[in-house]
């Protein structure tokens, strides 16, 4: 698209802002880098909380209560069926008697009520532990529904409340990250468009001469766009450098800390380039009349 002399000019001019306004450009990169750092920290925290929640959910169990009428054959068939269900890790049988012992233990002192009963009122049950893959609330409901259809199953109780709570916290953190992302997005575009605006103002005469001698609008715009792009890149690299250094320091002391994958880091840098481009585009849109 551009001739070699033009390309050389564009590269040189893109760095002109860095040259002429070292302080402004430096501060811009620093502000943007810090904002991006906050954003990436929140992303890391969200990712890690998500992982923690997933891990915590593996402790979630489901109780399958059985009809008193169910015989041993039917019970062992159900046992096999439950064990074969996808998402089920472990199935343990709890008899009526065991259930009563457990219940007594839970009640502690106040066992008179139970003593007064002639018959054991507690049903036998299967204690089902789910795998990590079956942790989300929807999958649990599917499993429970499947179990309920089985003859001889009186009821299925699972820790829906607990699952809801975990989901709630996950969405709180995800929302927080998105909001911070939005704020960082706006702030970054703003600071970059502000410095590019200065370059546009400083280049007013050069732009006028370029128009006069017949440079194309695309050619006139490109150095400004590249300047924003470079500032975005520098801000992103700054944030990533700090984050990677912090990770290297903290990793030994925090077991199981999850960090960005290389693909996520690349995506983050591309995001910063996009911010830079958008910032300079906004400045050109507002301040460069061609």
């Amino acid at each position: 698209m551009f001739k070699p002399t033009q390309t050389a000019y564009i590269l040189k001019e893109s760095l002109a802002g860095f040259h002429r306004r070292k302080l402004t450009t430096g501060v811009t990169i620093l502000i943007m880098g810090s904002a991006l750092l906050v954003l990436s920290l929140f992303s890391i925290v969200t990712i890690n909380i998500g992982a923690l929640l997933d891990h915590a959910r593996t402790g979630i169990d489901v109780r399958v209560f059985l009809d008193d009428a169910m015989d041993d054959v039917a019970a062992s068939e159900l046992h096999r069926h439950l064990s074969a269900l996808p998402g089920v890790r472990q199935v343990a049988y709890v008899s009526k008697e065991q259930a009563l012992v457990e219940f007594r233990r839970e009640l502690g002192e106040e066992t008179e009520l139970l003593d007064a009963m002639e018959e054991n009122p507690l049903p036998a049950s299967f204690h089902v532990v789910l795998t990590e893959k079956a942790v989300d609330a929807d999958r649990q409901r599917e499993i429970a529904d499947d179990m309920r259809r089985w003859p001889g199953v009186a009821d299925v109780a699972f820790s829906e409340e607990w699952a809801r709570l975990l989901d709630h916290w996950r969405s709180v953190f995800t929302t927080a990250t998105l909001i911070i992302g939005l704020v960082v997005f706006i702030a970054a575009v703003f600071v970059i468009s502000n410095t590019v605006k200065l370059t546009v103002a400083a280049s007013a005469r050069a732009v006028e001469i370029m128009k006069q001698v017949g440079a194309t609008n695309a050619f006139i715009r490109t150095p400004f766009l590249v300047e924003g792009l470079l500032e975005g890149l520098c801000g992103g690299l700054f944030a990533m450098a700090v984050l990677i250094a912090a990770h290297a320091v903290l990793r030994p002391s925090i077991a199981g800390l999850i960090f960005f994958t290389p693909a996520q880091i690349a995506g983050f840098v591309v995001f910063c380039l996009g911010l830079g481009l958008l910032g300079s585009w906004a400045a050109l849109h507002k301040y460069l009349r061609l």
Partner: protein, 274 residues
Amino acid sequence: MAESDLYNGPLDPRTVVGFHHVELSYGGTKALDDVSFRVTNGEFVCITGPSGAGKSSILRLITMDAFPTAGQVIVRGMISTRMNRGSIPRLRREIGFVFQDFRLLEDRDVYENVAFAQLVVGIPGAEIKRNVMRVLTQVGLWQKRRQMPRTLSGGEQQRVAIARGVVNSPKILLADEPTGNLDPAVAQEIVDLLFEINDGGTCVVFSTHDHDIVRSFGRRVLLLEHGRLVSDEERRLGDRRKSRLTDGMYRPREEIEREARARETAAARQLEGE
């Protein structure tokens, strides 16, 4: 045969600039009103008139920096009313511009200021060097090529601006009050330089509010008052030409070119005969 008879309407390939009943309004006020004239290849035209008469407006219309609110402007075959914006840069590469206030880039030296005009339109490096050397030699500033604009006198700065204006070998050089900031002796040097450039075949349009200077040039003068063209020396040659101007407007280009060629050969034959 008068030379002007070789030419026909504004679409004649020899017409460099054609104004056809041009009106230009800024908001409510008319800066130009029913202005028609034609500038042919290699001509030196002075536009004069008091401040606010519309001189700069005419130059802006020629570079298609502004478009007429009525009528048409035709520059090297490009018609203002049928112009696509994308081809404006191509048009401007054929037009050099010199301003009253020089408008040099203060952070670049003389050489870089001139080279800039070539650089941004993509001329290869080796060619830039050759061209800049040529024009800086022509304006007598090759020796001062490494000086910054602010270390030069006004006349020298204007010479740099002229060098920048002609370095892309434009067909037209527009000079908007180029002598306005200079004292008379220096102004005369600048005018002589413009004559020299015109002798090289570049059409020059020179605007100034100083009517007396222009009288002494012995060149064509367009006089503007309140946005109206009140006198045009060539127009005063006869009304015949004036009607031709509008007649030729909508005729097919091939026909006009054919006729122009025929007249040219006829004229050449006549010259041989003498």
